[in-house]
Symmetry: C2
Subunit: 448 residues, 2 copies
């Protein structure tokens, strides 16, 4: 079996048909491609870069297995000489990128590949697939982090994520952006992300009565007693929790929280808070879930709903209000000459680029400049060398460090961009040098 999550055939067929053309014409010179987002979705004020580590893993492991080569031969699209060439192909290029967790804006490349043309071309599809999705989700998750300061936020999205990899990588991207953890168990061992989990309605339903279900669960998970109280009637269940608490206390078990999952969550939370407080359970937290997103979290915050934490699932893992980004991976230079696509509405800035960022007196972002690498500008450079000749330049950063970087970025984000609706844009200046190069490329192309 070919590996469904790591096969090099996880690519558009046209990468391979083009590669055969490059191979036949011996077009092996150095190509420079950059990945960037063309524009923000209507509901976004910024984006957060993520997915670089998985992209590097992909580049490091790039190779064709004998089985994959056999399939390509049998497909009759490709010559034997070309398939032999593929058998020896590895990634030997350079990578420059913004670190994961960096906030960025349209037209700013977050990753650059510099490699022999066939390599740089071949990686396009999976590279976009990896960078697009995690950037999409980190950018979405950051909005919940901004909308619900101080709340416990857990990713609950695996079941409605688009497949296994989406669920896993959404847990990772969400954690980078500032969520506290995930319900996806495998994200624990794979990424060292805190994993949370308690009970579903089926646990309550499978018991003859709710009280017994609660007691059985508390005994099975004495350090993790979070009781789901909306299976039948939320407030009646809250009263059962109050009645159960002393009996559990005798066994040395403390109830940590209750979870609400349906109905008017703010209103139920107020009533349940009252019942718990009256019952002497002031220390029991209220956790809410059920079709939540950052807009709901903001509304709960505004209404001072007594909810201590949230499970956010489907809307986060599918980035439901903006399920894709208008992103691209484009050839900017080949064989030492800058290149530019001019398709209507999709023209690109040519050449190898750098992004400079300046800060105001409070350390907040005050503007970016997009320019050519080597054109010195004021500010911090956001794009850094990451891989050279196919080798990482530094050990893999800990996910906790990446998460801290993202947190610092959010703290430095200008206040007007914290909102959930579209704010006046952040200033990204395109340098004179870049304008001049674009004009030069067009002139060369149209008057050869």
């Amino acid at each position: 079996m070919m590996n469904p999550s790591s096969s090099i055939l996880l690519t558009d067929l046209y990468q391979l048909t083009m590669l055969q053309g490059y191979f036949e014409q011996e077009m092996f010179d150095t190509a420079v491609f950059e990945f960037f987002v063309r524009k923000l979705p209507p509901q976004r004020n910024f984006l957060m870069a993520a997915g670089l580590e998985q992209t590097l893993d992909f580049l490091e492991n790039l190779h064709f297995t004998p089985e994959e080569l056999d399939w390509l031969s049998a497909s009759r699209h490709f010559s034997n000489a070309f398939v032999d060439y593929l058998a020896g192909l590895h990634f030997t290029g350079d990578v420059h990128a913004m670190p994961e967790g960096t906030i960025f804006f349209p037209n700013e490349p977050i990753l650059r590949i510099t490699a022999p043309l066939p390599q740089a071309q071949l990686v396009e599809t999976r590279l976009i697939n990896l960078l697009h999705f995690q950037t999409l989700i980190a950018s979405k998750a950051a909005r919940s982090v901004l909308a619900a300061p101080g709340k416990l936020l857990i990713d609950f999205g695996l079941r409605r994520a688009h497949g296994a990899e989406a669920g896993l990588l959404a847990a990772r991207a969400g954690y980078i952006a500032g969520l506290n953890g995930t319900s996806t168990t495998l994200a624990g061992p794979l990424f060292d992300i805190p994993v949370y989990g308690t009970m579903a309605h089926s646990f309550v339903q499978a018991h003859e009565d709710e009280e017994t279900a609660f007691e059985h669960f508390a005994r099975a998970q004495p350090d993790n007693v979070v009781l789901l109280i909306d299976t039948y009637d939320t407030e009646i269940a809250a009263q059962k929790v109050v009645a159960l608490a002393p009996r559990l206390r005798e066994q040395g078990i403390a109830i940590k929280a209750v979870r609400l999952d349906s109905g008017d969550l703010a209103e139920h939370a107020r009533r349940v808070r009252h019942i718990l407080d009256e019952g002497g359970l002031r220390e029991v937290h209220i956790f809410a879930s059920g079709n939540l997103d950052e807009y709901a979290l903001q509304a709960f915050n505004a209404a001072h709903a007594p909810i201590d934490g949230f499970g956010i699932g489907t809307h986060l893992d599918t980035s439901a209000d903006a399920p894709h980004l208008d992103c691209a991976y484009k050839l900017q230079e080949y064989a030492g000459r800058a290149r530019r696509k001019r398709s209507e509405g999709k023209a690109t800035w040519p050449g190898r680029k750098q992004v400079y960022r300046i800060y105001d007196d409070n350390g907040r972002f005050a503007g970016d400049t997009l320019t050519l690498e080597g054109d010195p500008c004021a500010g911090e450079t956001l794009i850094q060398p990451i891989m050279c000749n196919g080798q990482r330049l530094a050990p893999r950063p800990k996910l906790s460090e990446t998460r801290r970087h993202a947190s610092t970025q959010l703290a430095r984000l200008p206040e007007p961009l914290h909102g959930l609706t579209s704010a006046p844009g952040y200033t990204v200046t395109v340098s004179q040098a870049l304008h001049e190069l674009a004009t030069e490329v067009d002139r060369q192309h149209f008057t050869p």
Copy 2:
């Protein structure tokens, strides 16, 4: 390494915390869970079931590896006795389901699991993850099939699909629904789906001029000459194609099609068609791509745009206008007693269910009845036995057969449901027997 696409830890942690409760209470009786969609997204008139085969693969392979068990032990959430129990766990239950490609409506279960409670519970997350996504995409793809009759339709979505599995399974679900193929190479060897691919803008950009790029590509792929003509100026490129054709013809190479990827596609198609026809290239097809969805296809159809085929990518693979379904996998019976969740807005119909469908004189769907298994009704039964005691009852159907079934279903779909906007609903009658059981379950529960 745990396998990121098949580990049993691809599940919500709460499945395992609940399982420990079931284990301690020896709740091993038979449970019945059903998967269904609660309601249609606003833009959908029907859904198409998909994902069953991957779900069966998952059930057949269900087991814990020593490494996974070690991680669970080390997590301190679980007792040693429980982890030992997990070491022996396999799926030994029954599966009933609608065949893939079947059209269904809200509240109709498309899959039922009958198994010892811990097994039926444990599989929830991944089962939803698999059924939800492919059903989402098959339902989306079917709309393009209905909107563009007779056109060649190719999935182009891998790069912006949510991860590798999403890209692969979207290719599969789209093909079931009636697309002609995909650009995702791996879908060829894994699922025997026709794979299509030609060239990207970078191929043109990497060459010094467009004519040379076209000629090089044609020589490299003489049986598959589809030329992308929008990198600089679409109509000028079309004229270059006309000029190139005789030279290629001398070499025995025929140009199959040109591809448009930006600008006003219908208008460009008209102008390019004119240029090609005037140049004697009436047999060269026009293929279009670029941010397309079924709404765009319908508009091209209405405008009689001379486009012969379409690549549909991002909007298809993310189901962009409805990126998730309100679906659930709910306990309907345990230990011989029907169960029902009554949460606000999320109440379920209890018991093991069957769906009967009747047809009008033209063979079109004329109404469904949702009732209890064993309650005979008029019509065809849609839910069939698929797996017994953990074993498939029939060999895996060929994907081409599944695709034919889907095609027949679409042909039998009532005409008013073919549209892209919301139509008056299809009639699904809930039987008297089911109403009575729900009342009975509520009565038992609230007056014990």
